[in-house]
Symmetry: C2
Subunit: 207 residues, 2 copies
């Protein structure tokens, strides 16, 4: 059996950057350390990333962000009411956070808080990631009004990012579990569309 | 009239560090830049902070964290139901975030995501800040069960930190407004104790 091809130096540089951003943000992601961790030849960095660290970090954020759609697909499936889906998503995040060492945050969140005044390219990349993530969840939320769904999808991404912050400080996934519990209650109590496989009558919107 | 005494070099170093952590996390808080921004004599840093950057950042986080009790007192007053209090707190955070330039995050959140593997002192300082903040809100929440109040207070701090992350990326306070709206709905829908100035009957706990 053939092994899968080893990742290219370019892919290794991006993967190392993503990992280091998750571990300690821009503060812990020095170019020399990225190169050392990736095992890529030192000369390859500016060959593959002529715009340097900004390009490397931007592409690493895009790689990181591109993992989210599969998570949404996995948890917000047709059979699960959204309140249960969001709780399962957060409980899973808690478990994974702890399994991999209770120290890996979100690369996009870390860069967002580390942005310098001139980091407009990185700021746009962070903003795009959060907007896209919320946009994936928005159509799956149990509200007839689109603005209500949009606002709620932002709340869910806010909670996800905040849970990474508190979980990193606590070295425990419990903040994800607390957040998932409350988001789930919130959705169950506020829904104004019928659950897919339960009652057919339309409950009144609670305000 | 006498002017208030100017801050000591020690205070200026702490204030500069806090400001720089809010602007761009540990990544943007180099010791030389802190000294330059503070206007303190270069020799004063290791005089006042013999343990260097860790001590300086720890004390800056304590200074930052100590501002939260006054905010809680201001918004969670006796006359305001908790659902209205949390919305006012988040709407105020949105307004202040925008007024001061839409680029100042939370120093504790930024350090939490920038922690290196050996930053146990800073990690403890971040964890203590979040725990203390949640502890201030917990007794003011409208649930008879203490574990429910604890969990909900963590959710509120999670949302506050996550709102800083998304607001930094968006350069807009709107994520605070979305979060405040949903936290408020969540509290209003889940409360199992009577609002202070409204009905007297005790609604059933929703689960």
């Amino acid at each position: 059996m053939a092994d899968s091809p080893s990742p290219s130096p370019r892919d290794r540089l991006i993967a190392a950057t993503e990992a280091m951003l998750r571990e300690s943000g821009m503060a812990g992601t020095g170019i020399k350390d990225v190169v050392a961790r990736s095992g890529a030849p030192i000369g390859s960095l500016y060959h593959y990333f002529p715009n340097g660290k900004t390009q490397l970090v931007t592409e690493s954020l895009e790689r990181h962000a591109a993992k989210f759609p599969a998570l949404v697909e996995r948890f917000f499936d047709e059979k699960r009411p959204p309140a249960a889906a969001v709780r399962a998503l957060f409980d899973n995040a808690a478990d994974v956070f702890e399994e991999i060492g209770a120290d890996k945050g979100c690369a996009v969140g870390a860069v967002s808080l580390d942005l310098g005044a001139n980091d407009t390219v990185l700021q746009s990349a962070c903003h795009a990631a959060f907007r896209d993530w919320a946009g994936l969840i928005e159509p799956r939320l149990p509200f007839s009004d689109r603005e209500t769904r949009r606002s709620c999808s932002v709340m869910i991404i806010v909670a996800l990012e905040g849970a990474f912050v508190l979980s990193r400080a606590a070295k425990s996934g419990d903040p994800f579990r607390d957040a998932g519990r409350w988001l789930s209650r919130m959705l169950a109590a506020s829904s104004d569309t019928p659950p897919r496989r339960a009652r057919k009558s339309k409950p009144r919107t609670k305000r």
